[in-house]
């Protein structure tokens, strides 16, 4: 097995799902963001977003803080240090895979 293929098999399964990857990327550049912001930016449904957030929380990649602003519930989501490290690794792996596949330059079958 060559180096690039090893990188593919070693990809983080929690982050290698487009929805969760997008959430992690949105949270990576900031201290935290609320549910409504993530809902707007990802374009997901509330249920779908909640399910992805629960998976990120389960993997200890995200921390979810629920509170009230007046009478309105407020959900703040933050990436944990473990989540940031995992996302750094994931980006590195993705770049390696992209570079490897581009370098292979295999012709398209006719």
């Amino acid at each position: 097995m060559n180096y690039e293929l090893k990188a593919i098999s070693g990809v983080d399964r929690v982050l290698h799902e487009p929805g969760r990857m997008l959430i992690a990327a949105l949270l990576y550049g900031v201290e935290g963001a609320d549910f409504l912001y993530l809902l707007n930016e990802t374009g997901m449904s509330k249920g779908n977003l909640s399910s992805h957030l629960a998976k990120l929380e389960e993997a200890a990649y995200a921390e979810i803080v629920k509170s009230f602003k007046g009478k309105i519930p407020h959900t703040l989501v933050k990436l944990t240090p473990k989540g940031r490290a995992a996302f750094d690794d994931y980006r590195r792996q993705l770049k390696t895979i992209t570079a490897g596949l581009a370098a292979a330059d295999v012709p398209r079958p006719q």
């Binding site: 201290e31 912001y37 993705l94 079958p109």
Partner: protein
């Protein structure tokens, strides 16, 4: 799926991810509130500098100094309060809340010190001509402000801000060419900067409010 398709697909995914990583910059500026608040401060400073230069009896030097010191001291506190308070009323209920990372103040101070040193050195370099160091400095400051606006426009992908930023450069060059006094040069520059911030901020706020009507009883 063949390898080339794989490579293109992964590259597209990677590009989307890079876009998402900087999305908060655009989201933070989307409502125009930051520009309006900053523009108001530039307008105040521009007025403090320009009014005594154009109407010598209007303000004493001591009063001007007090106003500048008070506004500079209050700026970080007032800016933070005003931006956060306004955003909580206008944009948080519409498009949600995003907490930006705290800037590394040590690096910011180093950048300001290096920028000032560079500006002063350039001023000294050209001061052999008929114009003073301060006039060259004002032109240099104008160019730096213009470049900062262009950089901001590129970061938040704002074509209108890019177009408006040329007003700042034009003001700096015009002040220099017409050989204005230093105080007038700086004042004109600050007012041009304020004009661009306020116009772009207000237009941005208007289109933001049109695009995002306030939802009723939504979860934050």
């Amino acid at each position: 799926m063949n390898d080339q398709l794989n490579a293109n697909g992964t590259a597209a995914m990677s590009n989307d991810m890079e876009d998402a990583l900087t999305r908060h910059n655009r989201a933070w500026m989307a409502d125009g509130i930051v520009e309006i608040v900053l523009g108001s401060f530039w307008l105040l400073w521009g007025a403090i500098v320009v009014v005594p230069a154009m109407f010598p009896g209007a303000m004493t030097a001591q009063l001007r100094l007090v106003l500048i010191l008070v506004s500079m001291g209050a700026m970080p506190f007032v800016l933070r309060r005003a931006i956060r308070g306004w955003k909580e009323r206008v944009s948080v209920p519409r498009t949600g809340y995003v907490e930006l990372k705290k800037p590394r103040s040590k690096w910011n101070l180093i950048h300001i010190a290096l920028g000032s040193l560079l500006g002063y050195s350039i001023g000294l370099l050209f001061s052999q001509g008929s114009r003073s160091v301060a006039q060259w400095g004002a032109l240099g400051l104008g160019i730096i402000m213009f470049l900062a606006m262009v950089l901001m426009a590129w970061r938040i992908r704002a074509m209108r801000l890019f177009a408006l930023s040329w007003v700042v450069l034009a003001a700096a060059v015009a002040s220099f060419v017409f050989n204005f006094r230093v105080a007038t040069c700086s004042g004109v520059l600050l007012l041009a900067y304020a004009f661009v911030c306020l116009v772009d901020g207000l237009l941005r706020l208007r289109s933001y409010l049109r695009q995002h009507p306030r939802p009723a009883g939504e979860q934050l």
